[in-house]
């Protein structure tokens, strides 16, 4: 009996691939999905699907699928997201597979209408991952999903990789499904999404190929803030940078300041940052936050003679950097007050650190932001100039200063 049962268990283990198997040649691997709401209230789902044979064969393709574009764009309408996706099966020769989806793009009209169904669909599906990126399109999601953008053969891979380096400008940060859904379900801090814009192509072209004047590049710029599942407002570049600084998600952001005359600039890169947020409640029962930001920056490029080794010069640069960062954060805080929204998640600090006081705000939290009081302290330290010890200057500049 032991042998028989052992053999049966072994067979069970060896046959695990026989059930629910899907041949890779029968799969349509979705790389990006766009969701738009049409005027007739139907939902348009646009999929960017990989053509692995073409993608692996490089330009022109040497794979089994012949030449052509490395991705296939498919779209279908439906009364719900799921119905629209299922309607793609009416003409797709392959079964849609979500496991490799890199990004979900929500169209502006859909975001204004509400994202409840999208959140629900993408958190129920076992194929989808919470690490999939999610973003808002400035216009229609289908335009973003179908745009030929970036240096990778698959446009979705280009957008995915662009997000990897988006912290260099800090005008938007990477948001995955997990973070978005967390914000959507949590009353304390709203869901935010980076915004994707279509700009005229910034890549001039390749040596062997003429640039397409019609082609557009997907650019990450600004953030969108949601409230109760609907788009509540957009943050511009400065406000987004302020939000990211308070969140500690600004990364190695570049800050450009004037130096010498107004034309020349000095560029600083933040190499380290620490945020400290201390919540309190005023005697008038208003939320009050002490926000402290400490940054370390390195000089990346200087367009004028600037001997930043001198204490006074160093202090001047640090002062200008502090003023620039303060302006960014204040812009974000003022936006939050004006829009009664909390994209910086200040309420989370109040809830976690002053839970007794939080009780009085819990029901009306985003609205309380209009009463927001804050004390912002930014401290900047210049810690070096990359590989150069001395400023780049000619002998004449050194003799005569500026």
């Amino acid at each position: 009996m032991k042998r028989g049962l052992s053999a049966a268990c072994l067979v069970l283990l060896l046959l695990t691939g026989c059930w629910s198997y899907r041949d890779i040649n029968d799969l349509a691997l979705v790389l990006a999905v766009g969701i738009d709401r049409l005027e007739n209230q139907r939902i348009l789902v646009t999929l960017q699907i990989a053509r692995p044979g073409v993608a692996s064969g490089g330009e022109g393709g040497t794979g089994t699928q012949g030449g052509g574009a490395p991705v296939y764009i498919a779209a279908a309408e439906g009364r719900s997201v799921f119905e629209a996706i299922r309607n793609i099966s009416l003409f797709s020769s392959r079964r849609i597979m979500w496991a490799h989806n890199k990004i979900i793009v929500i169209g502006l009209a859909q975001a204004e209408h509400g994202v409840e169904e999208i959140v629900d669909f993408f958190t129920r599906n076992p194929e989808l991952r919470f690490r999939t990126l999610i973003a808002l399109a400035e216009g229609d999601a289908k335009d973003v999903v179908s745009a030929e953008t970036g240096m990778e053969s698959q446009p979705a891979a280009s957008i995915d990789k662009a997000f990897r380096y988006a912290d260099l400008v800090a005008e938007a940060h990477k948001v995955d499904v997990k973070e978005f859904v967390k914000g959507h379900l949590d009353d304390t801090s709203p869901a935010v999404l980076p915004v994707l814009h279509l700009h005229e192509q910034r890549v001039i072209g390749m040596a062997s190929k003429q640039p397409d004047p019609q082609a557009q590049e997907v650019v990450i710029q600004g953030m969108a803030v949601f409230r109760h599942g609907k788009l509540a407002g957009m943050l511009d570049q400065q406000q987004s940078r302020g939000v990211n600084l308070v969140h500690g998600k600004a990364g190695r952001v570049i800050i450009t300041l004037p130096c010498g005359d107004a034309v020349d600039k000095v560029s600083l890169e933040l190499v380290n940052q620490k945020v400290r947020i201390e919540p309190a409640v005023t005697s008038a029962a208003q939320p009050y936050f002490r926000i402290g930001l400490m940054v370390e920056a390195a000089v990346s490029s200087v367009g004028c003679y600037l001997d930043y080794k001198q204490r006074l010069v160093k202090q001047q640069i640090e002062g200008e950097l502090e003023a620039s960062l303060t302006a960014d954060i204040e812009a974000a805080l003022h936006w939050a007050k004006a829009n009664e929204s909390d994209p910086m998640g200040l309420g989370q600090h109040l809830r976690a650190k002053r839970s007794a006081a939080w009780e009085q705000f819990i029901e009306h939290w985003p609205k309380q932001m209009s009463q927001l009081r804050f004390d912002l302290q930014v401290q900047a330290h210049l810690v070096g100039g990359e590989l150069s010890i001395n400023p780049t200057a000619t002998e004449r500049e050194k003799r005569h200063g500026r």
């Binding site: 009996m1 069970l12 690490r131 967390k182 998640g345």
Partner: protein, 362 residues
């Protein structure tokens, strides 16, 4: 002096059994359930349950080392078969419930997340077959497998941590009783239900351990090790997913595992994690099936337990199939019915062990 039992297990296996029997259900399925009950306080509710379960395990270990035999035999000596048999039936029920929990964890992980189109019957049959095979091989084999299962539990935890640690947000941890202390206590009780499994094990296994010296210390240390492995998970779940998303998930540890990524290039390694996880899940099937058959055979006055393996397995598998054929029903059973049932049976066993130890004839 009590005669030495024929079956002997070493102390390392006892450690392995305690860790493997408590780890699988506590880290995921139960965390989702208690997140629905208490919100972001799941980590503290789990810590309290771990501490309480360690004390209870030490208590029952002390009783069993004093009795020097299993609970059934001790009660038989104390009050005859009419005292021993009902208690053995309770013990069988306890292990039956543990088997069902193991099956739930198995189905919840493999069917829900990896093979949603595979028929439920396959999972029930596969789980039952492996439990049956292990039971036929005997308790010593199961106990040794416990060491592998505990090692797997350690490995899955060790590879999960670096995959999520950079995304954790400590602000999610507080306040701990946002939905009220009554719901917090309920949540702690729900986790305790998973952690009392070693109590049932202790009443039948402790006399089989080959070295009886320092067993209380060993039981406490095993409970502490198990607790350390377990507590990492609710902390990570709440700091990564937040309370609402943890509560929304069928199996929150799978969502955590699927969210783990080592840098940019190493991600989607949940299948490796599940491979490390499954030995403990199988142990939650094998050990209870064997122990339930043993307890039931003695409760019914039968000489051999082997003949009961298949009938018990069929009964439990049929119940499991019925429960899981509707996921809402499974969620209701394991969220609302299973915890009080196992807690009551564990309490009965604990009280019986205490009474037997107190009334032991010299």
């Amino acid at each position: 002096m009590a005669a030495k039992p024929r079956t002997q297990v070493d102390i390392l296996s006892w450690y392995g059994l305690i860790i493997a029997a408590t780890f699988p259900k506590t880290i995921g399925v139960s965390q989702g359930i208690i997140a629905r009950q208490t919100g972001r306080g799941i980590w503290l509710a789990t810590i309290l349950a771990i501490l309480l379960s360690a004390i209870l395990l030490a208590l029952v270990t002390a009783c069993m080392t004093r009795l020097r035999t299993n609970l059934g035999t001790a009660l038989q000596r104390l009050g005859g078969p009419w005292l021993a048999r009902p208690m053995l039936l309770v013990e069988a029920l306890f292990f039956g419930l543990t088997f069902l929990a193991g099956n739930y964890v198995f189905i919840g992980h493999l069917q829900y997340y990896f093979l949603p189109e595979t028929p439920l019957l396959f999972f029930v049959a596969a789980y039952g077959s492996l439990a049956l095979l292990a039971s036929i091989y005997g308790f010593e084999t199961i106990a040794r497998f416990g060491i592998i299962a505990a090692f797997g539990s350690f490995c899955i935890t060790a590879i999960m941590i670096p995959g999520v640690v950079w995304d954790l947000d400590a602000l999610e941890l507080f306040p701990v009783a946002e939905l009220g202390w009554d719901r917090f206590a309920l949540a702690s009780g729900t986790v305790l239900a998973d952690l009392v499994v070693p109590i049932g094990m202790a009443v039948s296994i402790i006399p089989m351990i080959n070295k009886q010296t320092g067993l209380i210390r060993h039981s406490l240390l095993a409970a502490a090790l198990s607790g350390l492995l377990i507590i990492v998970w609710p902390l990570a779940e709440i700091m990564l997913l937040g309370p609402a998303l943890t509560a929304k998930q069928a199996v929150s540890c799978m969502t955590l595992a699927r969210s783990a990524a080592l840098g940019v290039y190493v991600h989607r390694y949940e299948l490796i994690m599940v491979a490390f996880f499954l030995p403990a899940v199988f142990l939650m099937g094998a050990l209870p099936l064997f122990s339930a058959a043993k307890a039931l055979s003695r409760g019914l006055g039968l000489k051999e337990a082997k003949g009961l393996f298949l009938p018990i397995l069929l009964a439990l598998s049929a119940f499991s199939y019925w429960t899981h054929s509707d996921r809402l029903r499974a969620n209701w059973f394991f969220g609302d019915i299973w915890p009080p049932l196992i807690l009551v049976t564990a309490a009965v066993l604990l009280v019986a062990a205490l009474a037997a130890a107190a009334l032991r004839r010299p």
